[in-house]
C-alpha cells in the first residue's frame, strides 16, 4: 500500500535503483538516459506526495546502529520543500545533462550518471533525515559521491580542484561537524530534531551552545561561509551540469539546509538569540555576502563569477539562521528555493554558451544574444531574480531577511543586503548587456546548440517567474515551522 513510510523509503530507493539501472544499462546510452529521466520523474512524483503529507510528520526508522544511535527519517515541511526543489530540478538538470554531455562528447558518462543518482539520493537523505546523525551520514555520502563528478575530466587541473573540494569538505565535517554532532549527542542524549530546539529543550547553557554554534556554522562546509568557501570556486573544474547540481540543487543547498535545520531544530531561535556568538556569526555572514560579491566582480570567467555569487547568496541563509527571528529564518528557507531556481538557470546558460561556442570568459561573449535570444532572456530573468527584483521569486527572501534583520535589531545588516543587490546588478547584468547590445565577434555560430541545453534554462526561468506568485502558499506551508518553533523555544527557556 502507498503509505507515508513507503514513500519515505522510496525517496531513497528510487535514486538508488536508478543508479543501478544506469550502471547496468551503461552500454546503451539511450536506455541509460531513459533510466535517469524515469527515475527523476518518479522521484518528483513521490516527493510531491511527500510535500502533501509533510505536516503529519511521518517517521521511518531505518536502522538502530547502537543504543542511542538511530538512523531515522522524519518528514517535516522544511525537508519536504528541499526535497521538492532537489527532485524537481533533477528532472530539468537531467535533460540538460543529456544535451551537455552528448554535445561535448564527454567520457565516462555512465559513471557520471551513476554518481548523479547517488548524489540525488544522498540529498534526499539529508532532506528527510530525522536526526543529526542521519543527516551527517548522508551529508558525507553526498560529499563522496560528488567527488568523482568534480574530477570528471581527470586532468591535473580537475584533480587539484577535486583535492581541494574533498579536503575542505571532509576536513570541516570530520574536524568540526562531527565533534559538534557527538557533543550534541553527549549533551542532549540524542540527536533528534525537536521542535523548539533539542539543546534548548535540554537546557544547555548559551555559552556551550555558542561554542557548538560556531562548530556547526563552519563545520557545515557546504554552506560555504567564509573562510571555508574555497572548495566552491575550485569545484568549477567540473562539467557544467555538475556545477548546476553543486550550486543549485544538491550540494550547497544541502549545506544551507543543514544549517537551517540545525538552527531550527537543534538550537531553536531563542537559544541562538541567547548565544554570545550568533551576532558575530551574523556579521561574518554579512561580510561573506558583500566580500564574495566583490570578488565575483573581479572574475572574468563566467563560472567562477557565478561561483562567488553562490558563496554570497548562500550566506543569506546562514544570516537568516543567525538572526534567529521567525521572519529572517523564513527568508532563509525561501532563499533555498528561489536561489536554486535562479542559479540553476544561470549555470545552465553558461553551459549552453560553452556547448555552443566553447567560450568561458565573459569578455568573449559579446553579441552572442543575437544568436541565442531565448537563452539570454532566460539568463537575464535568472539574474534579475538573484538580484531580487519583482516580479521574480528572488524578491521575497531578501524582503523577509531585511524585515527580520530590522526586527531583531540588526538594522545595519540591511545595508549589507542592499549593497549585495547592487553588486549583483554589477556583476550579473553586464553579460546580458554585452550579449544583446555589443557587436558579435564572429559572423555566426560554429554549431547550433542542441535543443536540450536551451530548453532547460528557459523552463527554470519561467519557474522563477511562477515562484513569485506562489509566495502565499509557500509562506503558509513554512510559517508553522518557525512560528511553532519559536513559540516552543520561548516556552522552554
Amino acid at each position: 500500500m502507498w503509505t507515508p513510510e513507503l514513500s519515505l523509503a522510496l525517496a531513497l530507493a528510487i535514486p538508488a535503483i536508478g543508479g543501478v539501472a544506469v550502471a547496468l544499462l551503461g552500454k546503451y546510452p539511450n536506455l541509460r538516459e531513459g533510466a535517469t529521466l524515469v527515475s527523476a520523474v518518479l522521484l518528483a512524483l513521490n516527493v510531491a506526495y511527500l510535500v502533501e503529507i509533510a505536516p503529519s510528520h511521518p517517521v521511518l526508522e531505518l536502522a538502530n546502529l547502537a543504543p542511542g544511535l538511530h538512523l531515522v527519517f522524519r518528514l517535516e515541511p522544511l525537508g519536504a520543500l528541499f526535497a521538492a526543489v532537489a527532485s524537481g530540478l533533477w528532472i530539468v538538470n537531467s535533460l540538460y545533462s543529456i544535451g551537455y554531455m552528448r554535445g561535448n562528447g564527454e567520457k565516462n558518462q555512465t559513471r557520471f550518471y551513476v554518481c548523479f543518482c547517488i548524489a540525488i539520493g544522498a540529498a534526499m537523505g539529508v532532506a528527510l533525515s530525522g536526526n543529526l546523525l542521519t543527516m551527517f551520514l548522508f551529508y558525507e555520502v553526498l560529499t563522496l559521491s560528488t567527488y568523482p563528478l568534480v574530477t570528471h575530466k581527470g586532468d591535473e587541473n580537475a584533480k587539484r580542484g577535486g583535492k581541494i573540494y574533498l579536503s575542505i569538505l571532509l576536513g570541516a565535517s570530520i574536524g568540526l561537524l562531527l565533534p559538534a554532532v557527538i557533543a550534541t549527542h553527549y549533551l542532549a542524549g540524542s540527536t533528534d530534531f525537536v521542535a523548539g530546539g533539542l539543546l534548548a529543550v535540554n537546557e544547555v547553557t548559551p555559552a556551550i551552545a555558542g561554542v557548538l554554534l560556531v562548530l556547526f556554522a563552519f563545520g557545515i562546509g557546504k554552506a560555504a561561509l567564509m573562510p571555508v568557501h574555497p572548495w566552491l570556486p575550485n569545484a568549477m573544474v567540473a562539467p557544467t551540469p555538475v556545477s548546476a547540481l553543486l550550486h543549485a540543487v544538491a550540494v550547497v543547498k544541502a549545506g544551507v539546509f543543514a544549517m537551517l535545520k540545525v538552527g531550527t531544530y537543534i538550537f531553536g531561535p531563542a537559544l541562538i538569540a541567547a548565544t554570545p556568538t550568533s551576532d558575530a556569526l551574523a556579521w561574518i555572514a554579512g561580510i561573506s555576502i558583500v566580500l564574495s560579491s566583490v570578488v565575483a566582480m573581479t572574475k572574468d570567467n563566467l563560472k567562477a563569477r557565478l561561483a562567488f555569487s553562490t558563496v554570497s547568496q548562500l550566506s543569506y541563509v546562514t544570516l537568516g539562521v543567525m538572526l534567529a527571528s521567525p521572519l529572517a529564518m523564513l527568508g532563509g528557507a525561501l532563499q533555498i528555493v528561489m536561489h536554486a531556481w535562479g542559479k540553476i538557470t544561470l549555470f545552465m546558460s553558461a553551459g549552453a554558451i560553452y556547448t555552443a561556442t566553447k567560450k568561458t570568459e565573459i569578455s568573449q561573449m559579446a553579441g552572442l544574444g543575437r544568436y541565442m535570444p531565448w537563452l539570454f532572456i532566460a539568463y537575464t530573468v535568472g539574474a534579475l531574480s538573484i538580484i531580487g527584483l519583482p516580479p521574480l521569486g528572488g524578491t521575497w527572501p531578501k524582503l523577509f531577511l531585511m524585515q527580520g534583520a530590522w526586527e531583531s535589531g540588526h538594522g545595519l545588516l540591511i545595508v549589507a543586503l542592499v549593497a549585495s543587490s547592487i553588486l549583483n546588478v554589477a556583476y550579473l547584468l553586464p553579460l546580458s548587456a554585452r550579449g544583446f547590445f555589443s557587436a558579435p565577434e564572429e559572423a555566426k555560430l560554429k554549431k547550433k546548440p542542441p535543443m536540450l541545453v536551451i530548453l532547460p534554462p528557459v523552463i527554470t526561468a519561467a519557474g522563477v517567474l511562477v515562484l513569485f506568485f506562489l509566495i502565499g502558499p509557500l509562506r503558509d506551508y513554512l510559517a508553522p515551522v518557525f512560528l511553532s518553533s519559536s513559540l516552543a523555544a520561548e516556552a522552554a527557556l
Partner: protein, 508 residues
C-alpha cells in the same frame, strides 16, 4: 547464545578452552609432516575451522554461564596453570579464530605465489604455531604461561616474516630487528612477572590480584608494572616502541601481514589490558597516573606522529603499517581514559581495526598477486583492472578514516563520547586531527587506485587475470562487507566491547 553454547557436544565443550589451543599445536606438528603444501594447507584449514567453531562455542558458554576456569592437568590454581575465559578475552578468541579462518582461506593462492613449494608445509606449520600461540596468550590465566605462549607466537612470527625474503631480502633484516626487540620485550615482561612473583608468591593472574589487593603495592610492584607495560608495549607496537613493525609488515609475505596486522598486536594489547586492569587495579595511584600521563599522552602522540609518517611512505604496506601504529594510539587513548566507556571504546576499536586492516592487507596482497604491486604509485589505475579488490580496499580504507556507514565511524563515535564523558576536549581534537591525517594518507592510496590511469600493459589484461582468485576475493569481500554490516548492526560488537570493559572494571 544458547545456540552457540550447544554448538558442540558437552563432552567436548567442557574441554573447549584447552582444545582451542592444543588442536592448532597438534596440527602444527601434523602439518610439518605433510609431504606437500596443499595437504598442509588442508590441515591448517581444518584447524582454523575447528578453532572458529570452538571460539563461538566458548562465547556461548561464557555469555550463558559466566567465567570459565579450566584447570590444566587437573591441578587447581594457583598450584596448576589455569585457563580462564571471561568477557574480556572472548572477543579476542573470536577475533583470532574468525579472522584467522578467513586468512587461512586467503592463504592458499597467496602462499603458493610467495613461498617455495618445498617449504610450504613447514611454513603452514609455523603459521599454526603462531596461531596457537596467540590463542594461548589470550586464554591463559597464568602470568608465566603468557610469556611462554607469547614466545611461541613470537618465534614463529619471526620465522614467517622472514619468509618474505623470497621477494625482498629486507624481510630478513626486518625479521631480525623484530626478533631483537621482541626478545627484549619478552625479557622485560619476564622481569615484570618475576617481580610480581616476588611480591605475591603466585603466578596465577587472579590470585596475584587478590594478594596484591590484600598486601598493597610497593616499589617492587611498581617496577613490575613498568616492565610489564614496556614489555607488552613492545609486542603491541605502542609508540615509540613500534620501530620493528613497519618493516616487518612491509616485507612479510602478504598473507602473514594480513594475519598479523589483524591479530598479533591486538592480542598483545589485550594482554596489556589484562595486566593493567586485572592484576593491578585502575584505582591504584600509580596505575591511575600512568593512564593519564602515559597511555593517553603517548596514545595521542602516536595518533599524530605515526599518521604523519604514514602520509610520507612510498611503500603501500608500510604506509598501512604506520597507520596501524596510529590506530594502536587510539586504543591507548581509550585505555588511558581509565573509564569503562573508554575501555569499551578501546576494545571496540580493537575489533573494528582488525576488520579494516585485514581487508586492506588482503587487498594489497591481491594486487601483489596479480601485478607484484608494492609501492603506492604502482597502485595506479587498479580500480579499472581489479575493480572488486579495489572496491573492498576502498570500503576498508574509508572505514580507517572513520567515514560514516563504516565501523570506523562507530569506533570513533564511542571514543569521542568516552573522551567527552571524561571532559577531555583535547583528546577529541586529537582524534579529529588524526582522522584528517588518516584521510590524507588514505586519499593518496585511493586517488592512485581510482583517479590515475593504469600504465600501459595493465589495462589490456585478460578478464581472468583481472579478478583475484575467489579464495582471495571471498575472505576479503567478507571483511569489507563486515566493515559496513557492523555499522548498521553495531550491537554485537558494541555489546562485546561493553561486556569486556565491565568484566574488568566491575559494574553491570
Amino acid at each position: 547464545m544458547d545456540m552457540l553454547a550447544s554448538l558442540l557436544p558437552a563432552g567436548i565443550a567442557v574441554h573447549a578452552p584447552a582444545l582451542i589451543v592444543v588442536i592448532p599445536l597438534i596440527m602444527a606438528a601434523v602439518a610439518a609432516l605433510m609431504p606437500r603444501g596443499i595437504f598442509a594447507w588442508g590441515v591448517t584449514l581444518a584447524t582454523a575451522i575447528a578453532v572458529a567453531v570452538l571460539s563461538l562455542n566458548i562465547l556461548g558458554q561464557v555469555s550463558t554461564g559466566g567465567v570459565i576456569s579450566y584447570a590444566m592437568g587437573g591441578w587447581l590454581p594457583p598450584v596448576g596453570i589455569e585457563l580462564r575465559v571471561d568477557m574480556l578475552n572472548v572477543p579476542l578468541l573470536l577475533l583470532v579464530g574468525i579472522v584467522g579462518l578467513l586468512c587461512v582461506i586467503y592463504a592458499l593462492p597467496s602462499v603458493a605465489d610467495e613461498i617455495a613449494k618445498k617449504q610450504q608445509s613447514l611454513f603452514y606449520s609455523a603459521f599454526l604455531v603462531c596461531f596457537a600461540g596467540l590463542l594461548g596468550v589470550t586464554i591463559t590465566g597464568d602470568a608465566f604461561n603468557v610469556f611462554v605462549f607469547l614466545e611461541i607466537s613470537s618465534i614463529s612470527t619471526y620465522t614467517i616474516i622472514a619468509m618474505g625474503a623470497g621477494k625482498d631480502r629486507r624481510a630478513l633484516t626486518a625479521s631480525y630487528n623484530y626478533l631483537v626487540l621482541g626478545t627484549i620485550g619478552a625479557t622485560f615482561f619476564v622481569i615484570g612477572v618475576g617481580f610480581l612473583y616476588m611480591a605475591t608468591g603466585t603466578l596465577n593472574i587472579a590470585d596475584m590480584a587478590a594478594v596484591l589487593e590484600q598486601n598493597g603495592h610497593d616499589r617492587v610492584t611498581q617496577a613490575a608494572f613498568a616492565f610489564i607495560v614496556v614489555g607488552l608495549g613492545l609486542k603491541a607496537a605502542m609508540f615509540p616502541l613500534h620501530v620493528w613493525l613497519p618493516n616487518a609488515y612491509a616485507f612479510a609475505p602478504n598473507f602473514v601481514t594480513a594475519f598479523l596486522a589483524s591479530t598479533a598486536t591486538k592480542v598483545a594489547f589485550y594482554a596489556l589490558i589484562r595486566f593493567v586492569f586485572s592484576v593491578f587495579h585502575p584505582e591504584v595511584n600509580f596505575v591511575a597516573m600512568s593512564f593519564t600521563w602515559l597511555f593517553a599522552v603517548v596514545g595521542v602522540i602516536a595518533m599524530m606522529v605515526a599518521s604523519v609518517q604514514a602520509v610520507f611512505q612510498t611503500d603501500a604496506r608500510r604506509l598501512l603499517a604506520y597507520s596501524s601504529v596510529a590506530q594502536v594510539g587510539y586504543m591507548m587513548l581509550g585505555l588511558g581514559m581509565g573509564t569503562a566507556a573508554g575501555l569499551s571504546a578501546s576494545m571496540l576499536h580493537l575489533m573494528n581495526h582488525a576488520l579494516m586492516k585485514g581487508a586492506l592487507f588482503m587487498a594489497l596482497g591481491a594486487f601483489a598477486l596479480n601485478f607484484g604491486v608494492r609501492r603506492v604509485k604502482d597502485l595506479a589505475g587498479l580500480g579499472q583492472t581489479m575493480p572488486a579488490s579495489s572496491a573492498a580496499f576502498t570500503v576498508a580504507s574509508l572505514s580507517l578514516v572513520g567515514v560514516p556507514l563504516t565501523v570506523g565511524f562507530t569506533s570513533k563515535w564511542y571514543l569521542v563520547t568516552a573522551a567527552l564523558e571524561r571532559g577531555w576536549w583535547w583528546a577529541v581534537a586529537a582524534l579529529m586531527i588524526s582522522s584528517l591525517l588518516a584521510l590524507a594518507y588514505v586519499a593518496r592510496l585511493l586517488s592512485a587506485i581510482w583517479m590515475e590511469t593504469p600504465p600501459a600493459g595493465k589495462a589490456g589484461l585478460a578478464p581472468a587475470r583481472r579478478l583475484a582468485p575467489w579464495m582471495v576475493l571471498a575472505p576479503m569481500s567478507l571483511l569489507a562487507f563486515a566493515n559496513i554490516y557492523f555499522f548498521f548492526h553495531a550491537d554485537p560488537l558494541v555489546g562485546l566491547a561493553r561486556a569486556a570493559a565491565n568484566a574488568v572494571m566491575g559494574g553491570n
